[in-house]
Amino acid sequence: MSVVTKPEQGAVVVETVTLTIDGIEVTVPKGTLAIRAAETVGIAIPRFCDHPLLDPQGACRQCMVEIPDMGNGRGFPKPQASCTIEVAPGMQIKTQRTSEVAEKAQRGMLELLLINHPLDCPICDKGGECPLQNQAMSNGGGTSRYDGVKRTFPKPVSLSAQILLDRERCVLCARCTRFSEQIAGDPFIALVERGALQQIGRYADQPYDSYFSGNVVQICPVGALTSAAYRFTSRPFDLVSTSVTCEHCASGCQLRADHRHGVVRRRLAGEAPQVNEEWNCDKGRFAFVSGRGDDRLSTPLVREDGELRPASWPEAIDAAVAGLTAAGNSSGVLTGGRLTMEDAYGYAKFARAILGTNNIDFRARPIGVGEAAFLAQQVAGRTLAQAVTYTDLENAGQVVLVGFEPEEESPIIFLRLRKAVRKKGLSVTALAAFLSNGNAKLKAKLVATVPGSEADAVAGLKLAAGDVILVGERAALAPGALTAVVAAAAKAGARFAWVPRRAGERGAIEAGCLPTLLPGARPVADVAARVDVASHWGSETLPPLEGLDAPAMFAAVTAGELEALVIAGVELSDFADANAAREAVAAAEFVVSLESRFSEVTELADVVFPVALIEERSGTFLNWEHRIGRVNTVVKQVNAPMTDLRVLAALADAMGTPLGVRTTGQARAELAELGTWDQPIKAEAASRTRARAAKKSKANDGEVVKLATWRMLLDGGRGQDGEVALAATAKPSVARISPALASTLGVGDGEVITITSEAGWYSLAASITEGMTEGTVWVPMNSPGTPIGELGVVHGDDVALSLGGAE
């Protein structure tokens, strides 16, 4: 393993200012706002429009303070909004605690805010956690002097399918509009009209479809903004909160999951200043109901006379043990990228110590030839202290995106990059087929790159020390791109980070779910590493040969060289060649599936074990920074299914060799005890990854071009099932082509074109995109109706394009 240490950070001298607030001396960094300075000494000034992560607005006027001395001996003649006043040396500030002027101003402002506010707290979602309600109690008058007519509006207005607005509750603080414009870069809502009729409005022809729209519900200081998903479902004081780490992407968001009566009602962004700050994306916020459909598995299933039927746990365990014992080490394990690190560790150990094989791969996605070696040498075993972090991104001079679309694939990285672009002059360079809307919002410079030629583009980059290269999962598909990144970074003194898409991928590497790596970044090929693990585990020996990766396992199964597969809830259409995967699983002698919902694998499996949903289990996700994020059990059911780890332990017991771990805590402790391998990894251990045979396209199917493809944040992924309003905010599926290619094909914008490979075709609307790399077509990778795996092609392969829909 090569360790790149962080560049030395010089001691940063922060210029400070000393002032007095309510007679208390306070020293804060220069430029601090008065309201924030007061917080440092525990003085809470009421506020509505103020938000520490948004630019100051000064609109609600609730946070008025008296400033008898600006620091120059002179005072402000009028009370001032403390959210817009920067502190000055020697300034004296008197808040509502010591100043009658400030107290009266605040009381008066609350009265004014309430005159047009409906008294519908008992039916308002915000009631119980409402800043207006709370501050009316703490800083307002007991009764209202207002006996006039309240302003009313028809309600509610749909800002999008998900976000609803009740205008009469709105206090016009502009937090939502500022968030949309400043943080997310999606200014699709704005203040419209004037005076007391001022209101939040959306464009007539453009709904508020933003990947981050749910945040405005959370930061709304009243109940004006609600989500279709949560509206009227619960009261805050009836909810029980649990902190969790988001299971969707590898950003590692800390979330708060609120449940009532054993059902998760909503999820909110948690406060994690170093990770997601106070934001999250709509997928993490709203996509948590996929386990509630009628496809949930409730009992084990076994296959009898070709048909699956419910079975008891003992019967299913016996059936699985019989099949696996018969296959022995002629087995393979596919874990997918969504397990907690502890569950992944269970599989890694089960494969080696129980089945006796290194055939294990977590990568349920297209994989590249040099990828395993790159992960072993450049990613595995890194710690947070050695890795690139969000803070490093924020402070970088340049961030280069290689095979990575932050807004779609790691939206919190997107937010942090956008913050740095806005506030710190970060420049972003994107190597991609076209400048996506997300990257345009980062003001990214596009290096137009033909898919597959990323290595050349990387070699041509101008890098400086302190720059960061972010490498996405599909960079591995471009020959030489990963080694080019390593070389370019080394040459320039820049740093790089690999950003997987799924939450469990980074932890799966550490847990040992690669055919070349044992837990703790120990190379299978290194006998000392094998002995080390074997002695920890109390095993006599571990299999010495590097295992097969996922496509190789499929090929081996189809060829009759591998008998059994253990599959942990993966989607076959996620693999580079969905049909090959399907064929293999169907051809396998014996298939055990551990999953929580009925899937394509269920239909082909011999024994199926239902396992717990993420909300029913605890564990750990490692995010892209290598930061630990804890998953806590949210709902505790008496009839909750077992975790993967428990099932594996039961199977191991029945096979005669205990797994040694059955709880999350035990797995975590054992993994910690194993620690990280501290010996250097020998360069390029013989890789058993074979070059993939793509489903080539023929010229008679149309114009042959290179395929560019990646996943949209909101797409056909099964984790988003059941959340209709969220799905309605997804981007429509289009095929992007350059104007020149469009004229070659004779296709107009919006007309249907067909993309053909040897395995099949998709027809979808063409979107003529300025600046698109020539000879390239882009399609979403897994949007409803277009799982690219079904075509057997990956990013960088040839496909044929033709005008019109295919029959």
Binding site: Q57, R61, P79, L191, R194
Partner: protein
């Protein structure tokens, strides 16, 4: 009495085709530009500074000093923006000036732009006054044709373009930062300061924003010298200015006179209060300036005199109300204006004017509750001095000053409708049948 008048800006208003370039030139127009372009920009600024010219839009900030705040080392372009969004109730000086003599402003803009090293200047004209907008456009076109605008003006090497922009009918866009937002194509709402426009104004570049009358005064200063200008007016309020008399006055209109003249003198010039009536109250500078009464007839109408009387000079829009007028109804009408024109950005202005209108309607209808005068004053005190910009300060000024001078008339609103105490038809300048002049 006529010797009190000092027509400079209005000197040519009576000439035929006064708005034409030829007419303006015949009266000595555009001579000041030639003079200024031969001076250094700093010297031009110094002349304006020395003259003591103060902003005629109401605040009275020294114009030359404002120009000198433009940072020299800022690499961005510098802009001059002329505020012609005259919309305050009672205020009516800039529109007649632009209608009668638009070239005075064009000439002033060329000189001011030269002084601050600006090459693109804007006039933001209230959108409702289409005729003024057209006249200004024609004047600018004429000036381009004559070589006073465009490249290499009068062979000096100095370039200037003027953009004439129409607002869309919002009082708030007369607030300088809201004006800038509107000019940039956004919704007009005041901006947070700092940064101040002199540092980051239009398109985040250094910007000077001046009132029409301030800039229009510049050519005469350049032509006649700072001393000439300073010879008029009072010690701290120098020069001449336009006073606009309206309401219950025999001959309403524009009266150009030195600063420091009194209302008594102006009323003499205007033929006095409507015949058979006497002065009840008046505004010194539009509805945003606290009202005064007959006891203030001899207070000098300059910045200091008005401040001393607890009000402001404002735009020198003197609205005269005689004894037939209900101060409650007048205050209600003004407050309705502010409620309608509040931009909605900040709580006190948006909600407070909404509330005050409802309270004042009760006073007008004689349905206010005992004690509501104090409640109105308290609500006003929670609005004034708490808002984001000065709009709300102006909105409460008329309420608090009206109560200060005529509290008992408000207390009458506990029991008696204002239209019974002051039948509305009587304050109209034309015949209104008693049956109609009601409280619509």
């Amino acid at each position: 009495m006529v010797d009190k008048l000092t027509p400079v800006l209005s000197a040519n208003w009576g000439t035929d085709n006064s708005w034409k370039l030829a007419t303006y030139q015949a009266a000595g127009g555009y001579q000041a530009v030639g003079k200024a372009l031969k001076m250094t920009p700093a010297a031009v600024t110094d002349v304006v500074k020395d003259s003591g010219l103060r902003g005629r839009g109401g605040a009275g900030f020294p114009t030359g000093m404002k120009w000198s705040f433009v940072p020299k080392d800022n690499p961005n372009p510098k802009y001059l923006v002329v505020n012609a969004d005259e919309s305050e109730p009672g205020t009516c000086k800039d529109m007649p000036l632009l209608l009668a003599s638009p070239h005075t402003l064009v000439e002033g803009m060329i000189i001011a732009s030269y002084a601050i090293n600006c090459h693109t200047a804007f006039v933001y004209i209230r959108g409702e006054v289409l005729h003024v907008h057209r006249r200004m456009q024609q004047a600018v076109a004429e000036a381009y044709e004559a070589g006073y605008l465009g490249k290499n003006i009068l062979g000096s090497g100095y370039d200037l373009d003027i953009v004439v922009h129409a607002g869309a009918g919002a009082y708030i866009c007369g607030e300088e930062t809201a004006l800038l937002d509107s000019l940039e194509g956004r919704r007009g709402q005041p901006r947070l300061r700092p940064p101040f426009p002199a540092v980051a104004g239009l398109y985040a570049s250094p910007t000077v924003i001046n009132n029409v009358e301030s800039i229009a005064s510049v050519p005469s200063i350049l032509k006649n010298g700072a001393e000439w200008f300073g010879s008029m007016g009072t010690e701290k309020s120098k020069g001449y200015t336009l006073y606009s008399l309206s309401g219950h006055v025999a001959r309403p209109g524009q009266f150009e006179a030195p600063l420091g003249i009194t209302l008594r003198e102006l009323l003499d010039l205007a033929g006095g209060v409507r015949e058979g009536h006497e002065l009840k109250f008046w505004t010194p500078g539009g509805s945003s300036t606290p009202i005064l009464t007959a006891e203030h007839l001899d207070v000098p109408l300059d910045y200091e005199g008005m401040a001393g009387a607890g009000t402001m000079l404002g735009t020198k829009a003197l609205q005269i109300f005689d004894e037939t007028t209900s101060v409650v109804r007048t205050t209600l009408r003004w407050t309705e204006f502010y409620k309608h024109e509040s931009c909605g950005k900040c709580t006190p202005c948006r909600e407070g004017n909404w509330w005050m209108v409802q309270m004042l309607r009760k006073f007008e209808a004689g349905q206010a509750a005992v004690g509501d005068v104090d409640k109105l004053l308290d609500v006003a005190s929670n609005i004034g001095g708490k808002s984001f910009c000065a709009l709300a300060d102006g909105a409460v000024a008329c309420v608090t000053s009206a109560i200060r001078h005529f509290r008992s008339e408000f207390e009458d609103g506990y029991s008696t409708p204002a239209w019974e105490l002051f039948p509305y038809g009587r304050s109209a300048l034309f015949e209104v049948p008693e049956t109609q002049g009601a409280h619509a």
